[in-house]
């Protein structure tokens, strides 16, 4: 049977797979096209994305066809499988079978499709949802939310939906601050040889001689292997590689030297050496994937000779600011205006990270904001993480949600049962993620450390920050709130342990308390007061 197999990102045309071979011989041409439907799991979709392990997939198809040809003797089989993004209505697979009679053509075709779906390494990766019609504000923003997520559930959604960015190789200089994405194994023993930890004389362990002939002198960089005999000694410096196994080093303080002869006074059990492989054995993992590359971990990589580790890439962050009432910090606010602190907050959080930040102010008017967005579309669509400050609530001018939707983001949630910062929007578009942060500085503080940090950890492959337990230094008096609260606090060592002092804040607009805040205390819903000394959960904040 003549077999032809293609895996291609190109569209499959209706006439593809046609042939004039076997004209006159082929009495049956069975043609099957698998077409992408416009719904998947009950959702309207625009396209499906396919991925293939192409060389193996092609071989596997040939193997299946060859084996089926024994049961269904056909003349020819031509298979084209498309990969990549395939819009609904277009063909994902085309199979054309030529045979003398219809029975074997139908048999081969049906059985081939069954086997393909079991064994051929091709995957439907994801369904691309149908984009909402562009530039319309969905009615849903003005509706009360159907379901409000708890903070824990919201964090879990982020953890599930944000996936690690593809790892990239970096030099050790570039890798600082990144997350190691491979486990690095030692290529050699560390130390590579038995090494002396003293200045002294190496002799055979348990050599009972009293006087020894000094036959060599070894410094730290020397490598002259030789088998020592009874009565022989080698002068060694600290760090020197010993010339053979089963030696001990006698400290020079215990030795009397005359010319090339030494006499050993006291000797103890101590061998005074670091054994080969004592620190790390060749093939042992020296650092596991997920490690944050700081001074210590980078030094370990350098020692292991891993100079181009695979690490998390730099994250591209775009920050859009909304709100006409906000003026730049250098400007005196007119009545009704306030100075912008959010762009400084975001910049201060992003700058220490291996990330690139681009910030842009948007006009308050939705139509003008869209024009501005269109002008900066390449920048915005290139971002791994899109942050929008303000406009997250349900007021007339709050268009963040609509803006994210026209940028292709699917909104996962737009409210969290949390104070401060409840109107928090989280959306995903493929591997890109977006947050709409409520405009108040305290909401930014809580939102960044509670939610954005989880997304950043997932993107880079780090462990997301978790809540710790600590004790209250002073009582926390709160009016009972039906929402869970994140209370800014100062976490300080006191009497040998860490204590949390709740800071004063009145509304989410408070900025002053941020100067001292290095923790967020989690106050469960409907808590009126917590006494000093009470154990609480808190999130530690280092930036």
């Amino acid at each position: 049977m003549k077999i032809e197999v293609q895996i291609t990102p190109q569209a499959i045309e209706p006439g593809d797979g046609g042939t004039t071979d076997f004209a006159g011989t082929a009495g049956a041409i069975a043609k099957f096209a698998g077409v992408v439907r416009d719904e998947e799991d009950g959702e309207r979709i625009a396209a499906l994305e396919y991925e293939a392990f192409s060389p193996m997939a092609a071989n596997e198809m040939r193997r299946i066809l060859t084996s089926l040809a024994k049961r269904f003797p056909c003349l020819a089989a031509h298979v084209i499988h498309r990969v990549g993004i395939i819009p609904s209505g277009e063909t994902a697979i085309l199979v054309v079978i030529l045979a003398r009679h219809r029975v074997e053509a139908f048999g081969l075709l049906a059985e081939f499709m069954n086997r393909l779906k079991q064994d051929v390494p091709i995957w439907k990766r994801r369904a691309l949802p149908l984009r909402k019609p562009a530039f319309t504000k969905p009615a849903s923003t003005s509706r009360p939310p159907s379901q409000i997520l708890s903070m824990t559930d919201a964090r879990a959604h982020i953890e599930t939906l944000v996936t690690p960015r593809p790892a990239a190789e970096a030099t050790l200089e570039q890798a600082a601050g990144r997350i190691l994405r491979e486990t690095v194994f030692a290529s050699e023993d560390q130390p590579a040889h038995d090494r002396s930890t003293r200045d002294g004389y190496a002799i055979l362990r348990n050599d009972p001689s009293t006087t020894y002939q000094v036959i060599d002198t070894l410094h730290a960089a020397d490598w002259r292997p030789r088998q020592l005999k009874t009565g022989e000694a080698v002068r060694v410096a600290t760090g020197a590689s010993l010339p053979c196994d089963h030696l001990q080093v006698i400290m020079q303080e215990e030795v009397e030297r005359h010319g090339d002869q030494i006499k050993i006074g006291a000797r103890d059990e101590n061998t005074n050496l670091r054994k080969r492989g004592e620190e790390i054995r060749a093939g042992d993992p020296v650092l596991t994937a997920g490690a944050r590359l700081n001074a210590g971990t980078l030094a370990v990589l350098a020692t292991a000779g891993c100079v181009r580790p695979r690490v998390s890439p730099r994250i591209k962050v775009v920050h859009l600011m909304t709100g006409d009432e906000v003026v730049p910090p250098g400007q005196t606010p007119l009545p009704g205006q306030i100075r912008d602190s959010n762009s400084t907050l975001i910049r201060s959080w992003v700058t220490p990270l291996p990330a690139d930040l681009w910030q842009q102010r948007l006009p308050e008017n939705f139509e003008r904001a869209k024009t501005s967005i269109t002008a900066h579309l390449p920048q915005i669509e290139n971002a791994d993480l899109l942050l929008v400050s303000g406009g997250a609530s349900v007021g007339d001018k709050d268009f963040t949600r609509a803006l994210l939707e026209i940028l292709g983001f699917e909104i996962v949630f737009h409210r969290v049962n949390l104070r401060p910062g409840a109107p928090l929007i989280f959306g995903v578009a493929g591997s890109r993620v977006a947050f709409g942060l409520p405009g108040n500085p305290l909401s930014h503080f809580a939102g960044w450390h509670t939610f954005v940090s989880v997304a950043l950890a997932r993107m880079t492959g780090a462990r997301p920050p978790t809540f710790l337990q600590g004790q209250l230094a002073t009582a926390l008096a709160d009016a009972e709130c039906p929402r869970e609260t994140l209370w800014p606090a100062s976490c300080q060592p006191a009497a040998g342990r860490l204590e949390l002092t709740p800071l004063r804040w009145h509304s989410a607009g408070d900025v002053s308390c941020l100067a001292a805040a290095n923790a967020l205390i989690r106050v469960p819903a409907n808590t009126s007061a917590l006494p000093a000394g009470a154990t609480v959960e808190y999130l530690s904040i280092t930036t």
């Binding site: 698998g34 396919y50 991925e51 293939a52 392990f53 060389p55 193996m56 997939a57 071989n59 499988h81 994902a92 697979i93 499709m113 393909l116 779906k117 079991q118 064994d119 051929v120 390494p121 091709i122 995957w123 439907k124 990766r125 996936t163 690690p164 960015r165 593809p166 790892a167 994405r181 491979e182 486990t183 194994f185 290529s187 093939g283 993992p285 596991t288 994937a289 695979r310 998390s312 492959g461």
Partner: protein, 79 residues
Amino acid sequence: MHILFFAQIKDAAGLAEWDLPVAGELTMGELWHRIIAARPELAVFQKSTRLARNGEYADATTRFTNADEVALIPPVSGG
């Protein structure tokens, strides 16, 4: 050993290709053990995932060496 990840495994691992140095000949079970030791996040895939060695599905008799290209094949869904 050069290892290839696809589909959901690629997402979980965060990369498509990975070099895992191994010594000697490994059985399928031993190889999985090495993979999971280095990448615990892949443990959940072991039951459903087949291994391919140099482009062909492996079976219980297959032995893997450092020179092999090994693909982790999660359940397929082509067509």
